[in-house]
Every structure is written in C-alpha cells, then in structure tokens.
C-alpha cells in the first residue's frame, strides 16, 4: 500500500464502518410505536363470588375517531355486570357508546365513536371498563377479538391486540383452626376401632389354634 492510496483506503474503511450506523439510525427514526389494544391488568387474580373490573386500553394511537372490540371469556367462570366508557375518546368531544352484553354465550361487543366532523384523539388511554362477577373457580383468557380502530377519515388503523387472563380463586375469610382439637373425637374413635379389630383378630386366631390342635 503506497502513501497515495492510504487516505483513500482509510476513507473507504470509515465509510464501511459508518454505513451500518446510518442504517440503524434510519430504522429507529422510522420505527413508530405500534398501536395496541390491551386488557389491563394483563393478569387478574380474583375471589369467587366477588366483582372485579378490567380496563380495555389503547396505546400510541393517532387520530382515533371510532373503536370497537369483542371480548370473550370462559362463560362458566365469569359474568359481565356492566361495561362503561373510558375517558379516552371523549377527550375529542361528544361520543356515542354502545355496549352489547351476551352472558349466555360469554362475550361483549362494544362500539364507540366521536360525533360530528371533528378530529380524532391521539395518545394512550382507557377505551372501556368491564365489570365482571366471578362465578366459579378456575382460569380464563379474556380474549380481545374483532377489534377495529377507525380514524377521522374512516380508515382502519393498524394495531395489535393483547389479551388478558383471569384466575378465580376460592373466596372466604381466614379463620385459624386447631386441627388436633377438631379431629380429637375421630382420632379416639379410630383408635378404639383399631384396638377392637386387633383384639378380634387375635381372638379368632386363638380359637382356630385351639380347634386345629389334635386332642
């Protein structure tokens, strides 16, 4: 490598090293955060016989004018008590909120839209709050499906869904119990029965021995 070509090669090497950095920068600049509809909290542990609530939220949305979703669950475990509108869309003005609850088949359909020729709402927030009643013990997925977000030009907004899960545990109140005291009568009875059984066994064995002994 002569002196003349050294700067040229150095520049080439630097260019070679810098190019991936440039590409990475471009990638970061274009990588908009993805709009997501999700159940919050993602996991709920609840007590059987009690009500609990979950939120359906949206994050990083732009120009949201109307939204709709379906949510289904294990119908043997939960019942929906009511669905109320969250405060996100109403930041943009008057809204029309229409929930349909189907506890027989275990799903809700909720639609909401702004009214009039107004711009949509951007950002993140709560779309709806769902109050459930935990009927039985077990676990269920809170499955978000048929979700639709429309902007003020009536165009669908790309998004992803994140389901939630709920786990129903046995309910009640904690009472400390002395198990030995509770079981004492049964332990005594069991002991008496065992002694009687052993005694009977011994008695029968001796009778047999006497009968089998030749006189």
């Amino acid at each position: 490598m002569d002196r003349k070509s050294a700067p040229f090669i150095s520049a080439l090497i630097i260019l070679f090293l810098v190019t991936p950095l440039y590409e990475a920068t471009v990638e970061v600049a274009l990588g908009f955060p993805a709009t997501t509809i999700f159940v919050n909290p993602p996991t709920s542990t609840v007590t059987v016989g009690k009500n609990f609530t979950i939120d359906v939220k949206v994050s990083d949305v732009n120009d949201l004018y109307g939204w709709g979703f379906k949510l289904r669950w294990n119908l043997s475990l939960l019942d929906v008590v009511n669905v109320t509108e969250g405060n996100f869309l109403e930041q943009g003005g008057e809204t029309f909120f229409w929930p349909i609850i189907n506890n027989t088949e275990g799903y809700i359909l909720v639609d909401c839209t702004l009214l009039g020729n107004v711009s949509g709402v951007s950002g993140s927030g709560t779309l709806a709050t769902v109050k459930f009643y935990a009927e039985n013990r077990g676990g269920s997925i809170l499955d978000l499906y048929d979700t639709l977000l429309l902007n003020s030009h009536e165009i669908a907004i790309n998004h992803t869904n994140n389901d939630g899960t709920v786990s129903n545990t046995v309910g009640g109140i904690w009472i400390p119990v002395n198990k030995l005291e509770l079981l004492a009568p049964y332990i005594g009875l069991a002991l008496a029965i065992s002694i009687a059984a052993v005694a009977a066994g011994v008695f029968v064995k001796r009778r047999r021995k006497i009968t089998e002994t030749p006189s």
Partner: protein
C-alpha cells in the same frame, strides 16, 4: 330364520325412515326472495336542471307460498344544487335559508324486479321544506327551523329503473301532481338475501363500526350543510340525529 331376517329388515327400514324426518320438516319451509337497493342522483325535474338524491330498497319474497312485496323509497332534490351537493368552494360560515323538495313512498302497491328493471308503484307524499340554519363561526350547526308545505299527499306514483346505453342505468320517478324526476343510478345491488339497510359502507354485508362512524360523521346535520349524508338518513326525516345513530347501533352484528 326367514322370519327373523324379515323382522330385522323391517326394523332397519323403520330406523332408516327416521333419517328422512328432517328433510320432511324442511320440505314446507321454502323461502325465495329477490332484493334490490338502488341509489341515484336526480338531475332533471321535467326540463329543469336540479340536484338531488334518490334511495330505494325493494323486495319480492315468497315464504312458504305466501308472497310479499315490500319497498321503501325516498328522494330529495333542490333547484339550488350548489347548496345541496356542496359543489364548489365552501361558503363562508353564515346563517342561511335553504329550500328543497322531498318525496316519500308511503304505501307500496306493486313491486317488480328482474335483475335489469325495478318497478315500484304506490302512494307518495311530496313536501317542500324550507330550512333556516344558524351556524357558528366554524360553520357548525347551532340550530335550525323548518317549515313544511305539502305539495301532494298520497298521490299515485311509480319509480322505474331501467338500463340506458349511455349511463348504465337511469330512473324516472313519476308522481301525479308534480313533474317527472329523472336521473342516473350510481349504485344498484341485487341480492337473494335480505339487504341490510344500515350497511351503508356496503362492502361486507355487515352492520358494524364502519357504518356507525359514517352516521357519526354526519351527526347533527341537515340538507344544506356540508357534512349531510343522504345515505345515513335511515328514517327519512331529513336530519342526521340520534334516531339514525341508534338505528345502526340496534342493528350492529354481534
């Protein structure tokens, strides 16, 4: 031996005949229907150039041998086209008075459909509606007042849609007592299944959020305002209000 084989055969035939029961049950539930939805633009009122919209939906239904004909049809038009179709630049936000005509099919007497022609006859009401509209500085509606002047009441009339070599399909609405309205058909949908009136997006045969948003965008508008959408005025009361919103909401498909 022969006797037992015969008994088994008879038993098998008896059991086999049970399989026919569902078919027999369905035999008397014949259901045939033909539906059509037409959307058109009114261009002429006799020899006068006008602008307006026509909407009609009709069906011929044969259910278990019982034949029904059903139709709904409505039209609004104005001799002030620019105010109704909002062509040209938006006018400065100011209060204004606007007059238009509306025709409504009140009673259907005959429907004939054959995939190329639509014929609906019945009794029609025609009114002239004058609306005074008060708007804010952004052109949004504050309030409106309307006066209704009956032009004809329960007048016999026919709507006829037919092919035209130049425009595809055209229509003529003839109502006794007023001149003939005519125009071109811009949308025509035929179906063997019931057409969902609230499916205004018309792309998926479902009433869903897309249709609800279409109504919401025109909420609280009347003919003459820029966002008025004739297609979502389901109850033909010439205003888009909570009645139209709840009509769609009540038909949302779950």
């Amino acid at each position: 031996m022969r006797r037992s084989i015969a008994v088994i055969m008879i038993a098998m035939m008896t059991i086999g005949s049970f399989a026919l029961i569902p078919n027999l049950a369905n035999a008397d539930t014949q259901f045939q229907a033909l539906w059509v939805r037409v959307g058109g633009i009114i261009t002429r009122w006799d020899n006068t150039s006008v602008f307006g919209w026509l909407g009609a939906c009709a069906a011929m239904i044969n259910a278990n041998g019982t034949y029904h004909e059903w139709a709904r049809a409505h039209a609004i038009w104005s001799t002030e086209p620019r105010r109704l179709n909002n062509s040209g630049p938006p006018p400065a936000p100011e209060n204004f008075t606007f007059s238009f005509y509306a025709a409504n099919l009140t009673q259907t007497s005959m429907v004939r459909l054959n995939f190329t022609h639509v014929y609906i006859s019945g009794l029609w009401n025609v009114v002239n509606i004058t609306t005074t509209i008060l708007v804010d500085e952004n052109g949004a509606l504050i309030s409106f007042t309307r006066t209704f002047e009956t032009v004809v009441l329960n007048a016999p009339g026919t709507l006829f849609v037919f092919p035209n070599p130049d425009f595809g399909y055209v229509f003529a609405l003839s109502i006794e007592g007023i001149d003939v309205l005519s125009g071109i058909v811009v949308a025509c949908k035929w179906s063997y299944l019931a057409i969902k009136i609230c499916d205004v997006a018309g792309d998926d045969d479902k009433v869903n959020l897309i249709d609800l948003v279409k109504v919401a965008k025109s909420y609280r508008t009347v003919p003459g305002l820029r966002n008025y959408n004739y297609d979502v005025d389901f109850n033909y009361d010439h205003k888009i209000d909570i009645g139209d919103l709840t009509t769609v909401a009540a038909n949302l498909e779950s």
